[in-house]
């Protein structure tokens, strides 16, 4: 009994340390973003001063616009391409499929810097002027594997007769895709899209290398500003963290809650 309690204590402590290690820097950043003075060590009172500065700073607001618009466009485009690819993969011959799935993993395991330099060389050698569109293209490209990875497992569990059944009932192949296959995959597509969004939204390394002509996203601006103390960054970081946190919450927690509720509902109906 005693031994059990001891190990439980140790377990709690261990988890506590890990969490502190991960989240303390974030909490400190958030905390000092509400500081009324410029100090990063001494809290002198609550204020929204740095948030006010943030809104007034056109350079930062421009970067926010770039980050958000690129994240949204890259999410939409990579989700469409990735989903169709995942469906197509399931129809390929086994050898081709295995090969493509392995190739698909490479960009995700590659260090970002390698991918970034790859893009840089590609764009330079094709003489494509670097800026907003090169950044968008790069984001679409590195998001696609995440979408495929989330959608493909769902495609694999699809009953191949479902599309046949839809066509049997008069649906054209396109309608079968739209009315049956996509709704069947919606959880995977949704998870893939949110993952793509976070990947695009918080990307620094690749964006830094493929942009140009003064186009910056949030992480590039934060990087440039950290060279001097500026609590405005804390305010900006806090917002970014919240955005990422909320999307991850949607990806991870909501499906869990839905699943749990469905189970409860089933149990409820069985009992009645």
């Amino acid at each position: 009994m005693k031994k059990f309690q001891k190990s439980k204590l140790f377990y709690g402590l261990y988890i506590g340390v890990i969490f502190a290690f991960f989240y303390l820097p974030i909490v400190v950043t958030m905390f000092f973003s509400f500081n009324s003075s410029k100090s990063l060590t001494h809290f002198s009172g609550f204020s929204l001063r740095w948030y006010g500065n943030l809104i007034k700073d056109t350079e930062i607001m421009q970067a926010v616009y770039v980050s958000i618009s690129i994240a949204i466009l890259a999410t939409i485009i990579s989700t469409i391409i990735g989903t169709l690819t995942a469906i197509g993969l399931s129809k390929c011959r086994k050898l081709v499929r295995e090969m493509l799935l392995n190739v698909n993993n490479i960009p995700m395991m590659n260090p970002d810097i390698v991918t970034a330099i790859g893009f840089l060389i590609l764009f330079s050698s094709l003489r494509i002027p670097k800026g907003y569109y090169t950044m968008l293209m790069a984001h679409i490209t590195f998001c696609i594997p995440y979408v495929i990875t989330s959608v493909y497992p769902k495609v694999k569990t699809l009953d191949p007769n479902l599309a046949d059944a839809a066509m049997d009932l008069g649906a054209s192949p396109f309608m079968a895709l739209y009315k049956v296959i996509l709704p069947m995959l919606r959880e995977g597509i949704f998870a893939g899209a949110l993952l793509a969004f976070t990947m695009s939204f918080d990307d620094f390394v690749i964006s830094y290398f493929v942009t140009g002509n003064g186009v910056s996203n949030i992480s590039i601006i934060v990087y440039n500003m950290t060279k001097r103390t500026n609590p405005t960054i804390n305010a900006l970081s806090t917002i970014v963290i919240l955005v990422i946190f909320v999307t991850m919450f949607i990806v991870k927690v909501i499906p869990y809650l839905i699943g749990k509720r469905r189970k409860e509902q089933l149990a409820y109906e069985e009992n009645n």
């Binding site: 009953d159 007769n161 479902l162 046949d164 059944a165 839809a166 066509m167 049997d168 009932l169 008069g170 649906a171 054209s172 309608m175 009315k179 049956v180 709704p183 069947m184 919606r186 089933l266 109906e269």
Partner: protein, 348 residues
């Protein structure tokens, strides 16, 4: 012949150089309950998929109502399918599953509702409209699949082993129910099964298949009483199959004895095979039988005993309502009309 709704002419199909259908010739009359019967892997599903339009034959014609539809995609055919594992849409409720085809055809809301509810009533699922698919039992899912297909008023309903996932009791119930539904809606059913009892009890016409070949087409009674070859005889119920010589018309010899029979049209002294159904063997005291044999095994089967007799040439399987002690010597005779003579099957 009477009019043909569907006709398959010289259909051949291969997968990966492996021929799974050889030169299939088959026609299906309107309002007929036709069953494709054969062991697993013999090509039954492939025939259904060719009729449904999901698979294209390598050669041959698919004639529907007088027109060749070989190139018509599935969504333009007046045929609906009940798939082997139902293939219901799990994210829709029962109503939306059944309404799917009507929604695609842009039938009005009111009309759709009327027809869906009618159909659910027909299959005995009134009041289940709002249910999720995963809240239904296997038998109920089965009924949804049938309703979803029938609501489109197809000319032909294809059913691929629709009862194979159900337990024995439910299976019997659904067999009767399917037959009733077919009579009520008055359309052609093409039914696939590997269960001979199911095929015999439900069908107007049975098509027996093996290895992508049609072995025999006929009424259940024809198929049972006059199997064309050894495969059909063995597949359709239990039987004694005995090599024999057709001495002349109406006289066949096997196991050293001449038997009168009712078959004719064979060459004199042609080598043939004789089918004797276990229930057709008449057991008598030894002196009254044509063949004598000794009881080696007897098993109670409910209505009758199944009995194995060892004779000079072979073992015989018989059915009897009387109990015989193991070791008893008995005589076996068969009346002429119960002896069925078949051409010898070429070894494949």
């Amino acid at each position: 012949m009477k009019n043909k709704l569907i006709e398959l002419k010289n259909i051949t199909k291969s997968f990966d150089q492996q021929e799974v259908l050889h030169n299939i010739q088959l026609y299906i009359r309107p309002n007929e309950f036709l069953t494709l019967l054969g062991p697993s892997g013999c090509g039954k599903t492939t025939i259904l998929r060719i009729i449904g339009g999901f698979e294209e034959a390598d050669s041959g014609e698919v004639i529907f109502d007088g027109k060749d539809i070989a190139k018509l995609p599935p969504y333009k055919r007046e045929v609906n399918t009940v798939f082997q594992k139902y293939a219901l849409f799990p994210f829709m409720n029962v109503f939306d599953n059944v309404a799917f085809g009507l929604n695609i055809k842009k039938v009005s809301k009111a009309e759709t509702k009327k027809r869906v509810l009618e159909m659910l009533k027909l299959v005995g699922l009134e009041g289940f409209e709002k249910r999720k698919i995963d809240q239904l039992s296997g038998g109920q899912q089965q009924r949804v699949a049938i309703a979803r297909a029938l609501v489109n008023e197809p000319k032909v309903l294809l059913l691929d082993e629709p009862l194979s996932a159900l337990d024995a009791k439910l299976r019997k119930e659904m067999q009767m129910e399917l037959k009733k539904i077919q009579k009520k809606v008055g359309i052609t059913f093409i039914f696939v099964t590997h269960d001979q009892e199911e095929a015999l009890s439900m069908s107007d016409t049975v098509v027996v298949m093996n290895h992508g070949n049609i072995q025999q087409i006929g009424t259940p009674i024809d198929i049972y009483n006059e199997p064309k070859n050894r495969f059909v005889a063995e597949f359709i119920g239990e039987s004694n199959i005995i090599p024999a010589i057709m001495k002349k018309d109406m006289l066949v010899a096997f196991d050293g004895v001449d038997f009168e029979c009712v078959d004719s049209g064979f060459a004199p002294n042609e080598e043939v095979e004789v089918v004797l159904r276990p229930e057709d063997l008449v057991l008598t005291p030894p002196q009254f039988g044509k063949i004598t044999a000794t009881v080696t095994d007897i098993t109670f089967k409910g209505v009758h005993y199944e009995i194995i007799l060892k004779g000079e040439h072979r073992d015989y399987k018989a059915q009897t309502t009387e109990y015989h002690e193991i070791g008893t010597e008995l005589g076996i005779s068969v009346i002429p009309s119960n002896i069925h003579v078949m051409h010898k099957m070429k070894e494949v």
